[in-house]
């Protein structure tokens, strides 16, 4: 072990000398990104490519994966009789629904809050901290709190509404609950970005608009929004990707119910690859690859449309 290490180092250093004699190779940049590059390789690049490879195999996590070509993809994409085809259809459908329901709210609510805070109200720091706080909680803590709040017979929400609505296992309440919880939980990150962006807008633009007789709504749409378009683009893409990877909220709050109407794709992927039965990692990986492709396509479309307005 030690020997090979010194050998490697010798090879490395001789290689460096040879190179540097030809032209000045500056190592410092690599040095700075080195630690990250190593971690990126171990925890991102390798698992990604390994996952793609697994999607072409039949593997139970034990023993060697058997290469079976496109069989898994065939099964989940085209075999209409298969349970896995149904899982992909239902799971992907629910994931898209979740993204559609949450992303607009996850952009608009933080933007309005940031715009409000930008008027420098009294207690600015307090409200800033208050709105940012939920982001710091772990998903399980948040879901436990909300499952208590929404509890049918003992929850304060039903108590004050004076109803016995079953928030977690009847539709459309299950979706309403999931969306409100997610928005509440994720306000902070986007809000901070918008606040920084709003701070950067020159004040004279607003003054000029005031002189021209613009009201605050006009100012918001004509000055504020165009000025922070780059940040909105960034948050829309990042939020969309994050919401595509939804898992903890439906798993803990609604358990995918009622009748699988909130079971998102990641729950099926998890069930197949790491469920309580023998692992079907190949099918799980194939579903994950499909999900990845969907995220890439949607992000590309978003980039295209938001860039075009330039």
């Amino acid at each position: 072990m030690l020997n090979t290490e010194t050998n490697k180092q010798e090879i490395m250093s001789t290689g460096l000398e040879r190179n540097s004699s030809k032209k000045q190779l500056n190592l410092s940049p690599y040095l700075y990104i080195g630690p990250h590059l190593v971690l990126f390789g171990i925890f991102f690049l390798f698992p990604t490519f390994f996952g793609i490879y697994i999607s072409f195999t039949n593997w139970d996590l034990i023993g060697e994966p058997d290469f079976i070509g496109f069989t898994n993809y065939n099964e989940i994409l085209f075999n209409k009789d298969s349970t896995f085809y149904e899982q992909l259809r239902v799971g992907l459908g629910n994931t898209f629904k979740f993204v559609l329901f949450t992303v607009p709210a996850c952009i608009i609510v933080p933007l309005l809050l940031a715009a409000g805070l930008n008027t420098k109200p009294k207690g600015l720091k307090f409200f800033q901290a208050l709105f940012y706080m939920p982001t710091l909680f772990s998903v399980s803590a948040v879901m436990i709190i909300f499952s208590m709040l929404y509890s049918v017979s003992f929850g304060p929400i039903n108590h004050y509404l004076n109803s016995d609505t079953n928030w977690l296992s009847t539709q459309p309440y299950a979706w309403i609950t999931l969306v409100t919880v997610t928005v509440w939980w994720t306000i902070g990150a986007n809000m901070i970005i918008y606040q920084a962006a709003l701070n950067g807008i020159p004040k004279d633009l607003y003054e000029a608009a005031s002189i021209d007789g613009a009201n605050s709504v006009q100012k918001f749409f004509s000055i504020t929004l165009p000025s922070i378009r780059a940040q909105i683009l960034y948050t829309v893409v990042i939020t969309t990707i994050a919401q595509f990877n939804v898992y903890g909220q439906p798993l803990m709050l609604t358990k995918g119910g009622p009748t699988s109407s909130t079971t998102v794709l990641l729950m099926y992927i998890q069930e197949n690859a790491f469920g309580s039965g023998i692992s079907i990692a190949g099918i799980g990986s194939a579903m994950a690859v499909i999900l990845g492709i969907c995220i890439m396509i949607v992000s590309a479309i978003q980039f295209f449309f938001l860039r075009q307005r330039d």
């Binding site: 460096l16 630690p35 996590l61 058997d66 099964e75 017979s153 119910g257 039965g277």
Partner: protein, 417 residues
Amino acid sequence: MKKKAVLMFSILFVIVMSLSGCSSSSSGSSKNEIVFWNVFTGPDGQDMQKIVDEYNKTNPEFKVKNVSIAAGDMYSKIPTVVNSGKGIPDLTIVHAERIKQFVDANMLTPYDDVLVDFPDIKADNYVPAGWAIGDINGSRYSIPLDVHSFVMYYNKGLLEKYAPNALDDNVVTFDEIKEAAEMSTKDGIVGMGITWTRPTFLSIYHQLGGDITSDGETPTLNTPEAKEALELLKGMIDNKFTNKDGEDPGQLFKSNKAIFYPEGIWMQNSLNEVETLDWGITSFPQVSADKIVNWTSSHQFVMFKDDKRSDEKAKGMMDFLNYIRENSLPWAKAGQNPAALSTLENPEFKELPHSFLIEDTEMQKSLKIFDYKYNGFVAEEIDKLVGDAIFGKLDIDEGLQKAQKAVEDKIAANNKK
């Protein structure tokens, strides 16, 4: 500058190498230590730790190192460590339902060779249901720690008021529950709580003569018995004999608003925390008093294959298992029924409420472990099916068909080459 860069690169390299070196060596066991993995992360983890500490105090040649890992994490970790051959635990607690699957994947070492020196670890000294699980293809792959059953608690005061004669024959039938509930619902008292749907359904299914597999290979979920079991539960819900959908049956029972509360024997310590509650325990409700079924599972000791494990260490492990066999009382107090029968001789054990399940051999026969190679697939589908079906959100026939199909497809996907 250049030299500095090379130096820093090599430092980085060494750090990375040593980090990766660390991870493989630290989880492996040292020579005189038995690494013992288990799934006890709740309060039961402390009880297990106490047992291990007591054992280590006897100064055995091999001391036991207790490692508690959340069940989900442990089960996903096991294939990785067994595949890599590094950091394999010596002794591991797994659930009874998983063992066939591990044996099929050729991951377990049988106990047969080491058992020769420990004649007391034998069928006669254990509860039959727990012992039978480890006997696969003529070899012994596991030793049971406990048998934990899904039974029923009742509120003593409410039972006296609404169903004074229900317990005369020591069995509560569904008819008796319905009768009691018809009176109690008028006073706002729930007859029976709908709790964990999987054992609830499986118990009734087996009482009606059904099982999750016909021959150990083929799953049998879409059967008339399964339909009958779901309809029985749905009928109780439709008649408002149970809690409503979404209502927490545990809260109802703890606040004296439910007569019957089917739950696991492991829940009793949390019921004891409620001072205003006077509870008793009996078998799970039955369709007929003639054939009693109590859904049961079991924690079992297994040895995952490890070429580096010495014979001496294996003997040390057996010594620990033999110790557990004779000293299971702390585990019984944690709310489990020890699988070792020697605990039965202890008067302290007989005072524990759940001891009734293994005290006489007739009751031992009521313990049913649903042992099937593809149990995990069945469990996943039952969890999706039962709640929705009995609360009327899913057509029973359609749900059963879907569940049967899903299990078959998963089995097929698993055997595909």
